[in-house]
């Protein structure tokens, strides 16, 4: 009997664990280690953040789902990886520290035959002074929609702003990224337009000034260098698409900005030209930068080999080309295909946990040396696809031996669909539905813009909202492993 240990139960980890168990059956063990008791459909957190959904709508308890699936569930955080075992045993293991199940604070060693690292990101609020509280948590001046609890808090604060606006007080809302190296601009994009939509619905829009601040070099970059949408013989950039929406909805914007410091009611930022500015706010939702979760790694002798397994940003090294090189030499082939660690072949990393070789957007620094470049997104559809491909590889390695061919899911050969909400209502809602292929531009295969325009689509409208709403229920249905879940795509 082989044991597969999955660290993390987000989109990629949950996908990997459930498919691995589904394909392996009762003959082998799948263990999930996650500090969370609930699964969270993160894309819908923005609707919790505007009060259109409750926390309970976007989360469900993991324990009964894993029990039904026959997956061993340990509510614990992974602390360290020991890929060579320890003195007296060659069996690799991880150490974990329980956060629930009545064993809080207890530690345990969990041995594995195959390890899938799907720990996701650490929300690194403290990377920007004032954005965090100095202890790794969100600070007192801003809100976030990165977790369901954060989103509940964000909505409570937003209601206070709406109340003041109803009373005739002018209020300023600032939404965007809280650091020069953030990713997930899409979530902030959805949140700002949902707030704008709710403000109109509540009749308080006239008393709200809503502003966007982002580390993107242009509106519509989204961390993937933007995309072109072909329609009727033209290929308009997402920049034009986004600018049109911002102007139409009366939302002003600042781009190319690295937020350097947050104070009560004020952010300080630096622009790509090196100039500095401040922006006041009554309500701010700023996405934090992501980093690895801080896992340590040790060899058989107990020596620290964290640098061997992880990149400096804390994400795990996989089969990518990490050789530093200038932007013009970036290749689609730099991106990983199998997500297998090059040193320890029984370790894989999926979703945000794997270290990307470089950003997707063009890197930029201010004259003062501050990097202001969106980090590459590894969330949503690609993370699910990668999780499933890695599960497939691990299953084949177990069933067919170490020479089994690994399954591949390169982001440079993979398309992605994104439905970005701009207002939630069954009759008046809107969402932008976009597809892009490939996620990482391949300038050799598709000269010019690096993408295949025949597979790139974009439209905004009510139908997009319906799709987003249907996807909410469909993916939660799938994650709960209800009948037919394997048929639902990632």
């Amino acid at each position: 009997m082989a044991r597969v240990v999955v660290m993390g139960a987000g989109v990629s980890g949950h996908t990997a664990a459930t498919f691995a168990k589904h394909w392996l059956g009762k003959e082998h063990e799948v263990v999930v280690v996650t500090p969370n008791s609930n699964w969270n459909w993160i894309p819908s957190n923005i609707w919790v953040g505007v009060g259109e959904m409750t926390k309970e709508d976007v989360v469900f308890p993991l324990a009964p789902v894993y029990e039904k699936a026959g997956i061993i569930y340990k509510q614990a955080k992974a602390v360290s990886i020991h890929p060579e075992g320890k003195e007296g045993s060659d069996k690799p293991f991880i150490t974990i520290e329980y956060t629930g199940q009545g064993k809080e604070g207890q530690t345990e060693e969990v041995t594995y035959d195959y390890l899938i690292n799907a720990t996701g990101p650490k929300l690194n609020f403290d990377a920007t002074p004032g954005l965090g509280n100095g202890q790794g948590q969100i600070g007192p001046y801003t809100v976030s929609v990165c977790t369901a609890d954060h989103a509940v808090h964000a909505n409570n604060e937003l209601r206070k702003i709406f109340e003041k606006a109803k009373a005739g007080q002018k209020q300023k809302i600032l939404i965007g990224t809280g650091h020069g190296m953030c990713t997930c601009q899409g979530a902030a994009f959805e949140y700002i337009f949902n707030i704008e939509f709710e403000a109109r619905r509540a009749g308080v829009r006239d008393n709200l000034e809503i502003k966007w601040i982002s580390n993107e070099q242009f509106l519509g970059d989204f961390g993937i260098g933007g995309l072109h949408i072909k329609r009727g013989g033209y290929a308009a950039s997402s920049k034009i698409f986004a600018e049109s929406l911002f102007v139409e909805r009366g939302v002003d914007w600042i781009v190319g900005a690295a937020v350097k410091k947050v104070e009560e009611g004020k952010v300080h930022y630096e622009l790509l030209d090196g100039s500095e500015g401040t922006e006041e706010f009554d309500f701010a939702m700023l996405i934090p930068p992501f980093s690895g979760v801080g896992l340590k790694a040790y060899d058989k002798a107990g020596e620290d080999i964290t640098d061997k397994l992880f990149a400096p940003n804390g994400f795990m090294k996989v089969d990518a080309n990490y050789t530093p090189k200038p932007y013009e030499e970036w290749k689609a082939s730099d991106w990983p295909r199998t997500y297998q660690n090059p040193d320890y072949k029984n370790i894989f990393a999926v979703g945000i946990a794997f270290a990307p070789p470089h950003p997707i957007s063009k890197p930029a620094k201010s004259p003062n040396g501050t990097p202001i470049t969106p980090a590459p997104p590894r969330t949503g559809m690609p993370s699910g696809i990668i999780g499933k491909a890695v599960a497939h590889s691990v299953v084949d390695l177990i069933k067919h031996g170490p020479n089994a061919k690994l399954h591949e899911a390169s982001m440079a050969e993979m398309g992605a669909a994104c439905v970005a909400s701009a207002g939630k209502s069954l009759t008046k809602g809107t969402a932008a539905a976009l597809t892009v292929y490939p996620v990482v531009p391949d300038y050799d295969k598709y000269p010019g813009i690096g993408r295949d325009l025949d597979y790139t689509f974009g439209e905004i409208g009510l139908a997009g909202h319906w799709i987003k709403h249907i996807l909410h229920y469909m993916f939660i249905y799938k994650a709960k492993l209800k009948p037919g879940w394997t048929l639902i795509p990632e």
Binding site: G232, Y234, G256, L271, D273, A364, Y443
Partner: protein, 276 residues
Amino acid sequence: MVKELVVYPDDRIIMCGPVRSFKDPSLPKLLEDMKETMEAHNLNALSAIQVAHPFNIVVIKQKDGSYLELINPSIIQKEGRFESIETTSYYPGITFKIPRFEKIKVLFEDRNGNMKSMTIEDKELSATIQRKLDYLSGATPLYRLDQNQRDRVIQALKDKGVYRPEEVCPLFSKKDYITSFNSKLLFFMGLTLFAPLLKNYSPWIKNHIQSFWQFDKFAYILSWILMIVYFFYAQYEAKKYRQCTSCQIGNQIGVIGKHLLIATAIFLGALFFLKP
């Protein structure tokens, strides 16, 4: 070398990408060619895509006669709005009124790849740069107009004898033949539901109730097939048009949903009233 200008309806204007390598010797050559082209055509600004080179490059002729080369430019700050009256070599003889920012700060690279920035306070120059940057994003000035203005410009272009069929949303497209046929099919299906009411008055109807049921079964299946064909044909057709409300997938799904809902309702009625 003076380059040929891309003029409407030439679709080589459609898209361009970033300049990635500054070591390529064709870059300085292209910049010089663009300047010669501007001189030859008496232009004060030109984007590379307007001479069919799909790269994010804009060259501006300044008031002192010197040239400003903007490679991979983007606007990182803007202030104020005004209505800019503009012309462009892509649409010869057409004047546009477009809302633009009064002041902008542009971030760009020079021909050696060094990042620079520049604040533009001159309204006219600011608008010119914004117009050129639009071309780099796949948008001609037409894209910045509202529907009414766009229709007027397209009419003016048609009057000059040039237009791209895909600019105009068709009043009647071939996919409408499918919905029209299906509507007639549904009408006749609906008529059959009256047969049970009329069978006592007409022996012919009484004798053909079974046939009506057979027809409804056939028509119901045919209606589904027609809607599937409609969906795929509409998708194919939508790719041809730049601006077309009826081409949006939401509308197509709505049309299909409406037709199938009616067909299903009639079929259920037939199942209840007609099935022997």
